[in-house]
Symmetry: C2
Subunit: 217 residues, 2 copies
Amino acid sequence: MRMAELSRESGVPVATIKFYLREGLLPPGERTSPNQARYSQAHVRRLRLIRAMLDVGGLSLAQVTRVLAAVDSDELGQHDIFGVAQETVTQPGLDPDDDSESANAARERVRKLIADHGWLVPLDSPVVGALAKVVATIAELEPVLLEQIDDRADLIGRIADLDVSLLDGKSLEQQVEIVVAGTVLGDALMSAMRRVAQIDRSARRFGYSGDKASKHR
Amino acid sequence: MRMAELSRESGVPVATIKFYLREGLLPPGERTSPNQARYSQAHVRRLRLIRAMLDVGGLSLAQVTRVLAAVDSDELGQHDIFGVAQETVTQPGLDPDDDSESANAARERVRKLIADHGWLVPLDSPVVGALAKVVATIAELEPVLLEQIDDRADLIGRIADLDVSLLDGKSLEQQVEIVVAGTVLGDALMSAMRRVAQIDRSARRFGYSGDKASKHR
């Protein structure tokens, strides 16, 4: 297809597509004349992936470039792509130089959680640092939330089973799209469903009071 | 304790504490002389709660003010406090006037989910609108993520059981703190644990390659 059709099909404006081509985010089309090129469905998919990372994932152009470099690399296996995509959308973790008592206690707690659950995760992974940071914050502010961390980890593990099973039979590019969108949108879906389920559980435990609740809205 | 000690104990700078006092987020201390006041452990706890909502929860000052007003109100019952804390950290939902096909499809999907799971939740609740909005976005961008929504809802329901059981045997004040911090910090904990568990599941499914992965970090 020509540039105009690529724009129509992907919903991305021509000027933006040209920018992505210049920046190397989108591979060049097949040249058919000195100033014309032909694009394929692969270009449409790549554009969708770029838009998903920018708009839904809230990634920067530099981060998108990094993920795409990993996707286009022949060296990476599926598991590594999962890691690269994930780490790009992961919040900054505990500063490795933070040697405070609370930082070390959080690291130890996370190390034990990973060991107890037999999770195959390198302890120096950014996602582990990010978890340690959340645990350190909770330990300081509301340690009671950590009391059931093992039960929570079991349930979250079963959610991760669902997440990873989504990748079955998908192309590498689709997988990256699912990982990036699934990480960001999946968080939003979990949080939104948890609020609704909490209202139900709270109503059953403390009594349903629809009128009072709406009065304070 | 004096202001300087309150600052040391809470880790919040004196200028910031003074700002919170002026804004009414922090109740005034007990005045001991025309320009000195004494503060208590309740002030330390309140400062930590404010920092948690701002820093971890990413709430605005206006949202923090709203939650604290609910916390300090005598009118609210337990179930209502749950609702106020939750609604404040809930993202804006679908515009009720949005009558597009995709908006109606998302509403119907959420209505069916709530009915199928027997959840006691008013359909006009803000948390239901927020869930419908997330569902609408996912349906447009990555509909595959909705395929397992019922399995996910079951697991999230069990997480909500844990959330609500945390309130057992706690004073009303503690319960409020747990609900507020638990909503915000609980989201962060779920998301961070999910990333770690995904790495494990991905390693088991696609093969562990720690060296390769770290090379590309």
